[in-house]
Amino acid sequence: MISRFFRPIKEGFYGVGRHAAMSISSASAVTITLLIISIFLIFSFNLQQFTKDVEQSVQIAVMIDYAYEEQSQMDKIGIDIGNIEGVNEVKFSSKEDEFQYYLDGFEDEAQKEVFEPFREDNPMHNAYYVSVEDGSNLKVVADQIAQIEGVDSIDYGGESAVVLVNALNSIRTGGGILAGALSLLAIFLIQNTIKLTIFARSDEIAIMRNVGAKNGFIRSPFLIEGIIIGILGSIIPIMLSVFGYIYLYRIMDGVIISKMFVMIPPHPFVLKIGGILLLIGMAVGLVGSFFSVNKYLRWKR
């Protein structure tokens, strides 16, 4: 029973060793395709992160008219805003908070002193800060809010914020499709390489059938071989991704081009990437072997 379980594993390792040249070829095909996939993964995840950051950072500032400072009036405005479709979160900020926030903006204590007297005769508005579910309908939501009675003015960064969000979204979609397609191609490529490796051994498979080995018995060591090759092939991409990303993060200081694009911190992100690469490597090795062996099992009777 135990030997039933261990035989394919032992045989799989033997197989890799005794076909060293072919195993290296297959593993390096895995390595290269995983490298490509890794670049796309890191790019996609970061892009997703950017988009989320940007969408969260663009919020609509709603200033309430001085004539609507009673609690009940303000509450009604808050509820009205919350009822608009597409609104994610509504946060209230009183005119006192706003004033304090304004003061906090100065670094110089002296300058704070200058504005201190205005605290009594506060020129700020009570405000709501509204974030939207989907950055791309920012403008629609903002326009609706502007209609509400008691809203003095709104500010949402205008057209430029909308354009940016839309651009990021379309890059993300396009990039995602591209990454998915390339990953599929890469997987097919590895499968293809493994098929060639097994093709070179179709004679062996036929001989195994000749001496009475059932298909499952023949297949299992090849599957283990495929997994081993997948693991071997993913070592270099994993190392490169992990250390490469950490290095990149360090020299880029965690941002790309400008502070707006904050990179995902390496920990635990690199572990996630490494894990995904390992899983892809193993799965593709397994699946690739499975289909290839099956093909050649039918080659002779």
């Binding site: 076909h19 036929a206 195994m208 000749n210 001496v211 009475g212 059932k214 039918r298 009777r301």
Partner: protein, 229 residues
């Protein structure tokens, strides 16, 4: 045990390798199949092994209609028979020991039993010291003996050998013949042996079936064969 009824084999390229073969071999028999090169001897063996399907007619071995077996059931059938192939068919990346052991692993034999049995058959064919060699490191005759050892390892009910002494010197051929006869006698194994070695056929007289151009032209129960040229 083995029965061919109106069996014919025509290869896709149009060669009629076997024509209307009717043949019955009982359990425990030892039968030679002789005939000129290209007369269809190996094709007959491939029909018995299930490697080729008869174009018409039936091939029955150990009660199984071999030509009608499903692809996935063929290996199971093959555990009943041992075959020595004319081209040996050893696994190139396995040692002699592993090659023989593989035929025992497939039937799920216990590991220590396998070790014992492999040593035993390697000794029987005189290859005690070649267990760790790969087939490419063996002489032609040594490879042939590995193929014989593998075929008899799991004590099959039927042993089919395609020129098992083709690459052996006369002394070794005699040893192998003695071994096959012993298996035939002691284990009641049915043996079908293709050979060109007329001195051998005449020395150890057995039922002899003569093929020529795909037809059985003689079936000499008393054995022995005088070449007619």
């Amino acid at each position: 045990m083995i029965e061919l009824i109106h069996a014919s084999k025509r290869y896709p390229n149009g060669v009629n390798a076997l024509n209307d073969i009717n043949l019955k071999i009982d359990q425990g028999e030892f039968v030679y199949i002789i005939g000129p090169t290209g007369s269809g001897k190996s094709t007959l063996i491939k029909l018995l092994d299930g490697e080729e399907i008869p174009s018409s007619g039936t091939v029955n071995v150990v009660g199984i209609n071999v030509g009608k077996l499903r692809h996935s059931k063929v290996p199971l059938y093959r555990r009943n028979i041992g075959v020595v192939f004319q081209d040996y068919r050893l696994l190139p990346r396995k040692t002699v020991f592993e090659n023989i052991a593989y035929a025992l692993e497939v039937i799920g034999m216990r590991k220590d039993m396998i070790r014992l049995r492999v040593r035993q058959v390697m000794n029987l064919v005189g290859l005690d010291d070649k267990g760790n060699s790969f087939p490419s490191e063996l002489s032609g005759g040594q490879q042939q003996r590995v193929a014989i050892a593998r075929a008899i390892a799991n004590k099959p009910k039927v042993l089919i050998a395609d020129e098992p002494t083709g690459n052996l010197d006369p002394a070794m051929s005699d040893e192998i013949m003695a071994l096959l006869q012993k298996i035939n006698r002691e284990e009641q194994t049915t043996i079908v042996m293709v050979t060109h070695d007329l001195p051998l056929v005449n020395k150890h007289k057995k039922r002899t079936i003569v093929l020529e151009e795909g037809h059985i032209v003689a079936d000499l129960q008393q054995g022995g064969y005088v070449q007619h040229d």
